[in-house]
């Protein structure tokens, strides 16, 4: 059993979390890459999958596979029950108020496009959307599309040099034309944990709806959409131990009832003739066509698995990994950590003086270490911080170890020596 304990980076022995037992549940972590044990530090791109998820999807294909919602046969009934149970699981994990507030989508990108498209239909030229300078392209480009289509104005909350949203500027950005505030929960590029609760509180004072990009939020701790006070919350399965190509959009009642559909097709209508149409009630109204059934069920399994872990212990371990990595990497001369917000998820983005991030990534891979290099789909913030050619990003998960932090630091040092 796991129990939570106070830990410091140097006191691995005192950790109450059995990391090895956790790792044993992830088959993909048990392999060598280029002759070295895999050190997987690209968790902000996608997490590895536990047996609980792999076996659930396997079981579905072997025993329960059928299309949902429209069959009278037993398998279809079973598949439908599993799919709808996964929806309830998502609600539970987000602490949503009602199961019908959860729409299954392909991931955060589709969730935000859905809101931009459906919510966007009520917008007029000159209406304003507020985002932050810290956003992933998934929460920038859909608004650009809307800007090009109907002439909305995109306003940007600035970010400080250490990578924190400058909240003091938000009230000044809000005008009578502000229609939505959309920010990420946790920055994928820098790891900054944003004050989403405070942002939503300010928005509510002005009666402005809010959308939270939760791609990096859910993997690092329980999310409570009611406590955050947002209108929309988007998540991706692959970043939270579930399959790729599945995610969810939480939309507080009565949004889904009010918004027009996003896609048209089967399963989202009540009656169709060539003259008239009536839509199914939400969430079906937003799930046209056969959805990613096994993906949703896999996501449900991931969230169930996650819910059974000791969150305080996981958070303490991740905080200790972040502290250890910040210390070990920070000690390398010529290495600069990009993004030093006070509240961070376990992400360390860095550059080495005079060395191309891709070269570092290649040499780390040769040593069995998987990191992400480049601009992390967040060009604006990297440009602002003066690292337009990108960073090396090591993103940790609770299944990572302190030995892996040390392996990273050693490998970075070796890469630096080779490339200097």
């Amino acid at each position: 059993m796991m129990n939570s304990a106070v830990i410091t980076p140097s006191s691995q022995a005192k950790i109450g979390l059995d990391v090895e037992a956790l790792r044993a549940q992830f088959p993909a972590l048990q392999q060598n890459i280029n002759g070295k044990p895999l050190v997987y530090l690209d968790n902000a791109a996608t997490t590895q999958k536990p047996l609980a998820v792999i076996e659930t999807v396997d079981q579905f294909y072997r025993h329960d596979n059928a299309n949902i919602h429209r069959g009278v046969h037993t398998l279809s009934g079973r598949a439908t029950d599993l799919y709808e149970a996964a929806r309830e699981r998502v609600r539970l994990s987000l602490n949503g108020g009602h199961t019908d507030e959860i729409v299954f989508v392909r991931g955060v990108t589709e969730a935000i496009n859905l809101v931009a498209s459906s919510f966007g239909q009520s917008l007029k030229a000159g209406d304003e959307i507020v985002i932050s300078a810290l956003e992933h392209h998934a929460n920038i480009v859909p608004w650009h599309l809307l800007r090009e289509r109907i002439g909305i104005v995109i306003k940007v909350i600035p970010v400080t040099p250490i990578g924190e949203i400058d909240l003091s500027t938000l009230p000044g950005l809000i005008t009578a034309r502000t229609r939505l505030i959309a920010v990420n929960h946790v920055s994928n590029a820098l790891g900054t944990i944003n004050p989403v609760q405070e942002i939503c509180r300010i928005a509510r004072e002005h009666d402005i709806p809010t959308l939270i990009d939760g791609a990096q939020g859910l993997p690092h701790g329980p999310v409570d959409v009611q406590a955050i006070g947002c209108d929309f919350y988007a998540l991706s399965g692959h970043k939270a131990f579930g399959p790729s190509g599945i995610g969810a959009l939480y939309a507080r009642r009565p949004w889904l009832g009010k918004l027009p559909p996003y896609h048209g097709g089967g399963d989202m209508i009540e009656t169709v003739s060539f003259e008239t149409i009536t839509y199914a009630p939400p969430p079906a109204k937003f799930e046209a066509g056969t959805p990613n059934i096994e993906g949703a069920i896999g996501l449900g399994a991931a969230l169930t698995w996650l819910a059974e872990l000791d969150h305080a212990a996981l958070a303490a371990h991740e905080a200790a990994l972040l502290a250890a990595a910040t210390e070990s990497l920070g000690a390398i001369p010529g290495l600069k950590i990009i993004g030093q917000a006070r509240h961070k998820a376990p992400v360390v983005s860095f550059v080495l003086d005079g060395i191309h991030p891709h070269d570092v990534g290649t040499l780390l891979d040769a040593q069995g270490i998987a990191v992400r290099t480049g601009q992390h789909c967040a060009m604006p913030i990297l440009q602002q911080l003066g690292v337009a050619s990108g960073t090396v990003r090591a993103s940790f998960c609770f299944y990572n170890t302190f030995d892996e932090v040390e392996a990273l630091a050693r490998a970075v040092h070796r890469a630096q020596t080779m490339l200097s």
Partner: protein, 139 residues
């Protein structure tokens, strides 16, 4: 001067000498360090080779029917890979270049070890060199 096929055989032999990819990359990096300096005034848009994630500049000339290649990159490993390509193609005749098998990146194991973007960039450079050779050969 060895012909391209002989240069490839030599590279394969040299690569086999190393136990792991870290050492192979060290070797590639060292090759890049021996690349003649690329004139800074040519590091402009006109000489940029597009299709790479890092910046690559490239120029060529024909001298006595032999292709003279110049190039560099802002990324150290890419510079080394350019040097590797030049070992095969620099100072060669158009006909020798066109007669060379292009799958040597596979044989060296580079296609599986490089990121997809870098491998694509490298293949793009080989194609560019072959187009230059085909033009010169009147194909």
């Amino acid at each position: 001067m060895a012909n391209p096929q002989a240069a490839i055989a030599e590279l394969i032999e040299e690569f086999a000498f190393f136990d792991d990819w870290t050492d192979r990359y060290q070797y590639i990096i060292d090759m890049g360090k021996q690349l003649p300096a690329f004139p800074p005034e040519k590091q402009d848009d006109a000489h940029k080779f597009h299709g790479c994630q890092s910046q690559v500049w490239f120029d060529y000339a024909w001298q006595d029917n032999h292709l003279k290649l110049q190039g560099t990159s802002d990324a150290t490993i890419v510079k080394g890979l350019i040097a590797l390509l030049f070992r095969v193609y620099n100072n060669q005749t158009a006909l020798d270049i066109l007669a060379t098998d292009t799958d040597f990146l596979d044989q060296l194991g580079l296609k599986t070890h490089l990121s997809a973007n870098r491998a694509t960039g490298l293949v793009g450079m080989i194609q560019k060199i072959r187009v230059i050779a085909a033009d010169a050969a009147g194909h």
